[in-house]
């Protein structure tokens, strides 16, 4: 064990899936022509004013409740002032001294069991636009479609001790956002973004070491790699007698290292002050209670229920509940056909495998829970073999056709009729007299050869159990 202890805190920015932006009625739709979803408010035109989107507040409260935060009955929007071309007003409307919610906690499961991570605060803010620098001309463009998309900033306590815990925390937060259906959690597209504060200290020391802030991590894998690299870098520095410098570092995806932003990161003075265009945000406690009562079952609770109700292993329950849509798929399938373990195996194996292979999420898949349940039932009822079922699955997955129909159309029904199979067995044995003799002389491993031939003759439709019975009768 290293004599250094790692300390990690994360800052998450989650784009909220509201229909319209946080301070105007423009659409939040991703994609689209540059500056398509903009208005004078997005452009920071003279004289225009922000009007708060109540839905964004609702989503913020839901998240705060889901991670046990205290909701502040009064919070204040503040201006964060800095100049940048994709920041049209010259300030970002955010929250500073009095955020929406504080003092929360979240349970995570990493390798070492359950652990509680503190949430310092959750506040609301508007996203900035995008600067696009041309690679061919000496010119930059600004796209303000993203300007004003609502963001939740979720700041954790420095409670994580390994990169793995940090990733587990990220996944847990993302899971909750998805369960609440308030963020689509796409790290690549930037709707779920993460910055990390990392430091090390000698084990047993209470004081924190000097931290660095790591940016530009666009996937869970990046986060893991960036943090591992940064921890190693800091340990090397300290062991060489050098000091960690407080700075912002960018993760270089290609090289797998973190690099200092150097001169670019001047000490910013954002000159925060309360935004006079917005009144204090007063949250009615009755509204909070209504939202609390309306909260869905959250990932950790669901995971525990999957273990107890369906007798699934912890690991399977964790995977199934990691995404709400996947867990919903599982439960709908089980409601159709009450074989949770078998359905779970199909999801964990074939379904997730195919989704991964095609780069799809469960919501984008054509197969329905009912179809998966029907497929499992077909196997259980000996209508098809497990091997054929895998072929059928691919058809169902790709085309969304009912498995019964696939089986029927392709004539894949399992042959369990022993008279029909007997003819095939006779034929195979008749065609291979040498092998039959050798088998009878004691070469018992030829058994596989015969079974293989018989299954092949029936295009895989032979019921292996029945084949075995006939074979043992004929060959002894």
């Amino acid at each position: 064990m290293s004599r250094h202890e790692t300390v990690i805190g994360l800052e998450i920015h989650a784009q909220l899936k509201t229909e319209s932006k946080i301070f105007c009625s423009c659409s939040t739709r991703f994609g689209g022509e540059p500056n398509e979803n903009t208005c004078p408010v997005c452009f920071g035109m003279p004289g225009v004013l922000p009007v708060l989107n109540k839905k964004a507040v609702e989503y913020g409260i839901k998240m705060a409740l889901a991670v046990d935060c205290r909701i502040n009955s009064r919070s204040i929007f503040a201006r964060k002032n800095y100049f940048y071309p994709d920041l049209p007003k010259g300030y970002q409307i955010s929250q500073y001294e009095e955020p929406l919610a504080e003092h929360g906690r979240i349970s995570i499961l990493s390798g070492d069991g359950e652990k509680v991570i503190g949430i310092t605060r959750i506040h609301m803010e508007e996203d900035a636009g995008k600067s696009i620098h041309s690679s061919t001309e000496n010119v930059s463009y600004v796209d303000l479609n993203r300007t004003g998309v609502p963001l939740l900033e979720i700041v954790s306590e420095p409670d994580m001790r390994t990169p793995r815990e940090a990733v587990a925390y990220l996944k847990a937060l993302r899971g909750i956002l998805l369960y609440l259906e308030i963020c689509d959690g796409n790290m690549e597209e930037g709707s779920f973004r993460c910055d990390a504060n990392v430091s090390i200290r000698p084990r047993g020391q209470e004081e924190y070491g000097t931290r660095t802030e790591i940016k530009n991590m666009n996937s869970f894998r990046h986060v893991q790699k960036a943090l591992e690299y940064e921890v190693g870098r800091q340990i090397d520095l300290v062991e060489d007698g050098e000091k960690v410098v407080q700075e912002t570092r960018l993760f270089d995806v290609e090289k797998g290292v973190t690099r200092s932003m150097r001169g670019k990161e001047e000490a910013h003075d954002y000159r925060y002050f309360p935004d006079p265009d917005l009144t204090p945000l007063i949250i009615d406690p009755d509204w909070v209670e209504i939202l609390r009562a309306d909260l869905p079952e959250l990932p950790i609770a669901r995971q525990k229920r999957f273990v107890s109700d369906y007798s699934l292993p912890d690991a399977d329950a964790l995977v199934l509940t990691s995404e709400k849509d996947l867990a919903d798929f599982f439960e709908t399938a089980v409601a159709e056909y009450n074989q949770p373990k078998k359905i779970c195996n199909w999801i964990m194996g074939e379904l997730l495998g195919k989704l991964n292979e095609r780069g799809l999420s469960i919501s984008g898949a054509k197969i329905t829970p009912g179809q998966l349940a029907a497929l499992v039932r077909l196997v259980d009822e000996d209508k098809i073999s497990g091997k054929i079922a895998k072929q059928v699955f691919v058809e169902v997955f790709d085309k969304g056709i009912d498995p019964e129909k696939v089986v029927e159309e392709k004539g894949l029904v399992q042959i369990s009729d022993s008279s029909a199979l007997e003819a095939v067995v006779d034929e195979v044995l008749g065609a291979h007299p040498d092998e039959v003799q050798r088998y009878k002389d004691g070469q018992k491993k030829l058994l596989g050869f015969f079974v293989g031939r018989i299954i092949k003759e029936t295009k895989g439709q032979a019921n292996p159990g029945v084949v075995n019975k006939i074979r043992s009768r004929k060959l002894g």
Binding site: P46, G47, V51, N81, P85, K89, R271
Partner: protein
């Protein structure tokens, strides 16, 4: 023409509604008056005679609409309001030729009420100033004495109304910018309660202080404009969802000031008043007493901190509000720059005026790390104390009466090079904006020494504009008033 332009807004509106006069005649009379006076007073930044006249013809054809209280009435607005039909410069080079594609709620309301907007008034750049000398385009002059400033920042509006170019103008008041020019030009100007009139489309200076209001020749005219422009606007989160009374009807309910208690803050009736201002304002108080009011001395212990707190808060907000003028999206851009930082620097250094730059820098300073607590935070605390001063006074008084300015209009160029002295001319007006209370200037008479108009302020509790209007009208009737401007020949 004289017959037409000397009428009050209320009178001309009645004549128009009764078809005793055509819209075209009224609009033509105003443009004639503009042709005659504009070279002398420089009150307008733009106007559109042609489209106003063709609009007037259409209106005459379709006939009056009794549901439109300003039907056919020519007015102007300060160039701080966004308008679809006119450019909106805010008196600044950085917004030269800026043409909004949206309209201020207030302008929409005026148009829906049937008003004919002739043009837009000159102003101090971004409403920062007390003399209109900070306009990037022209110096407006006081119709009473062309060597004098009309006040500011709504100086163009005050000069237009006083000179009879229009029947009303709408200005804005962040620290006195309606009331002070109204006093200097001898007209009525009302700063409503913060939140009474929508700020949507009003180019922001100090967002927590800015409020639009009427500038007219009579109290009743202000009441009518207030009826049109007041009310909640879903596009402005700080606009109040309070019922709007019929201000004009309220005026008929009071012919005297019997039973009304008017407080005189001792802090405002001592320091630095010119003798003629003190004399005129005392005459106003006497008139109120004669009309039945009980006059009492009141204390506003934090008043002396008002001007410092006001400038800190206004400049802090301005430094942030004006950050959007960066040359990136609209307005003027310096094209000679090699990189982004240089473009920002040159654009803003070249296209923003000296006073605006001064305020941005001071505002930036007071919000900076290490200074925020000593300046901005302290100013916000003083603001609350001043609000409490007012609330305490209004426990025992219906209204507060105070001078508007320490002295009548000063000469053009007289104090422009001394910003601190210029700031101090706002000493009696800023506390109201900090407290959010409504206040109105009414002309009292002409100063004994200068012959220039002197005004007095009536201040009411929040959302009690009707009270200031009622008392204002009683005093207007009792006082000699100022008559027509003497500086136009």
């Amino acid at each position: 023409m004289k017959d037409i332009i000397n009428k009050s807004l209320l009178e001309i509106s009645k004549s128009l509604q009764m078809r005793q006069i055509k819209v075209r005649e009224v609009v033509e009379a105003c443009f004639d008056r503009i042709d005659q006076t504009e070279p002398k007073i420089n009150a307008l930044l733009c106007m559109d005679k042609e489209s106003c006249l063709s609009r007037a013809l259409e209106m005459d054809k379709s006939g009056p609409d009794p549901d439109k209280p300003l039907w056919g009435v020519p007015i102007t607005v300060k160039d701080v309001f966004c308008t679809k039909e006119f450019p909106t410069t805010c008196g600044s080079k950085i917004l030269e030729n800026f043409q909004p594609c949206y309209e201020a709620t207030l302008v929409e309301k005026l148009k829906n009420a049937g008003a004919v907007i002739l043009g837009k008034n000159n102003m101090d750049e971004f409403a920062m100033g007390s003399s209109t000398e900070n306009s990037a385009y022209k110096n407006s002059r006081n119709p009473w004495n062309l060597e004098c400033v009309p006040g500011g920042s709504s100086g163009g509006s005050a000069a237009s109304v006083a000179a009879g170019q229009c029947f009303a103008s709408v200005g804005t008041d962040t620290g006195g910018s309606i009331r002070q020019p109204a006093a200097f030009c001898g007209i009525t100007g009302l700063k409503p309660t913060y939140g009474r009139v929508s700020r949507f489309g009003l180019v922001a200076f100090g967002s927590s202080l800015d409020q639009a209001g009427p500038m007219t020749r009579t109290v009743a005219d202000s009441a009518l404009i207030m009826n049109v422009i007041s009310g909640h606007d879903p596009k402005d989160s700080t606009s109040a969802s309070r019922p709007v009374p019929d201000f004009l009807a309220a005026l008929e309910k009071r012919q005297d000031l019997k039973g009304m208690r008017i407080g005189l803050p001792t802090q405002y009736w001592m320091e630095g008043l010119s003798p003629e201002t003190l004399e005129s304002c005392r005459n106003a108080v006497d008139a109120a007493r004669d009309a039945g009011a009980v006059i009492v001395d009141v204390e506003m212990p934090h008043a002396r901190f008002g001007i410092a707190a006001y400038y800190i808060i206004a400049m802090a907000e301005a430094s942030s509000n004006l950050a959007r003028y960066d040359g990136v999206k609209y307005g003027v851009r310096d094209k000679s720059s090699a990189d982004l930082q240089e473009m920002y620097r040159k654009t803003r250094s070249r296209a923003l005026g000296e006073e605006v730059q001064r305020r941005i820098m001071i505002g930036t300073y007071v919000l900076s790390a290490g200074y925020y607590d000593a300046y901005y935070k302290k100013a916000a605390q003083i603001r609350r104390l001043i609000q409490q001063d007012y609330l305490r006074v209004f426990e025992s008084c219906d209204l507060v009466c105070a001078p508007v300015t320490p002295s009548p209009a000063f000469k053009i160029g007289e104090i422009i090079d001394d910003p601190l002295q210029m700031y101090l001319t706002d000493i009696f007006t800023t506390s109201l904006n900090l407290a959010g209370m409504p206040g109105m200037t009414i002309p009292v008479g002409l100063g004994r020494d200068t012959g220039l108009p002197v005004g007095v302020q009536l201040i009411a509790p929040a959302f009690e504009e009707a009270l200031t209007l009622q008392a204002g009208q009683v005093m207007e009737n009792a006082l000699p008033g100022v008559g027509t401007p003497t500086g136009l020949g």
